[in-house]
């Protein structure tokens, strides 16, 4: 079975979870042998931007040492064989077309989405 995970909500509880939980479950499933690819759209297109840095978070005396790194999560998924698709229109909408970004991604236009969805056994939207 091959699944396409469509991600539309970025930075969901990332500071509490130290990662993006949808990328995390994708990573965990990949390690269990899952065949899945990702389509990033809306705020999640920002995940490919280089130079993201989480300022150490301190709440009272509680400091968090390990910050989330959504960019590295994507790189890990790509390294594990997942294809990362990026919606071209959203990249433009968020002013990111010319920004340095993760190299291991494939741009796809809105017109290509029906064909993309057809290529998978199941499509999940998060």
């Amino acid at each position: 079975m091959k699944v396409l995970n469509i991600l539309s909500t970025g930075y969901r509880a990332t500071l509490e979870e130290q990662d993006d939980t949808v990328l995390w479950i994708s990573q965990a499933m990949k390690r269990a042998g899952a065949e899945l690819d990702l389509l990033l759209r809306a705020s999640t297109v920002n995940y490919v931007v280089e130079g993201q840095r989480v300022v150490p978070l301190s709440i009272g005396a509680r400091s968090q040492r390990n910050a989330p790194d959504v960019h590295a999560q994507l790189r890990d998924l790509a390294g594990g064989g997942a294809t990362i698709f990026l919606l071209r229109e959203d990249l433009e909408l968020y002013g990111l077309l010319d920004r340095p970004r993760l190299g291991e991604v494939r741009l796809i236009g809105a017109g290509g989405l029906p064909g993309l969805l057809s290529a998978y056994d199941q499509v999940w939207h998060w």
């Binding site: 909500t9 499933m29 042998g33 999940w124 998060w126």
Partner: protein, 136 residues
């Protein structure tokens, strides 16, 4: 004849979103149609089958606890589980184990179990289809 099986992934914590009730309606409808169901509770959804949920009175409504008859998600989960058993259908409710731990949300009702993302993948792979109901 091959049986139909659907997997649902739920993500919302109880009492926070309309999605919980809507998802329960969908699972109920699936059982009505003789469909086997898997549910993977991810993140806040692991709170849905918590056995410690307690119905309360509601002074604003002017009703005591009995009159108020406050719905509890654990009762919905139990009702779906029981309906599946009555109809000879599969009902496999899996709570994401790490999500349970980070929330201190151990103590789910009978008929639910702990699992991992690998279980979710296995459920989905063995199903006709999967519906992910993620938080907004």
């Amino acid at each position: 004849m091959t049986r139909t099986r659907l997997t649902f992934l739920l993500m919302d914590a109880p009492f926070e979103s309309s999605r919980t009730a809507t998802a329960m309606r969908l699972i109920d409808a699936a059982l009505d149609r003789g469909i086997d169901v898997n549910i993977f509770a991810y993140e806040g959804a692991v709170g849905l089958p918590l056995a410690a949920q307690t119905a309360h009175a509601n002074a604003v409504h002017g009703r005591d606890a009995t009159e108020e008859d406050h719905p509890l998600p654990r009762e919905w989960v139990a009702a779906l589980r029981d309906k599946a058993v009555e109809r000879g259908l599969a009902f496999d409710w899996v709570n994401c184990g790490l999500c349970v731990e980070e929330r201190g949300a151990a103590g789910s009702i009978e008929g639910t179990r702990r699992g991992t993302p690998a279980d979710f993948w296995a459920m989905a792979a063995a199903s006709t289809n999967t519906l992910v109901v993620a938080t907004a």
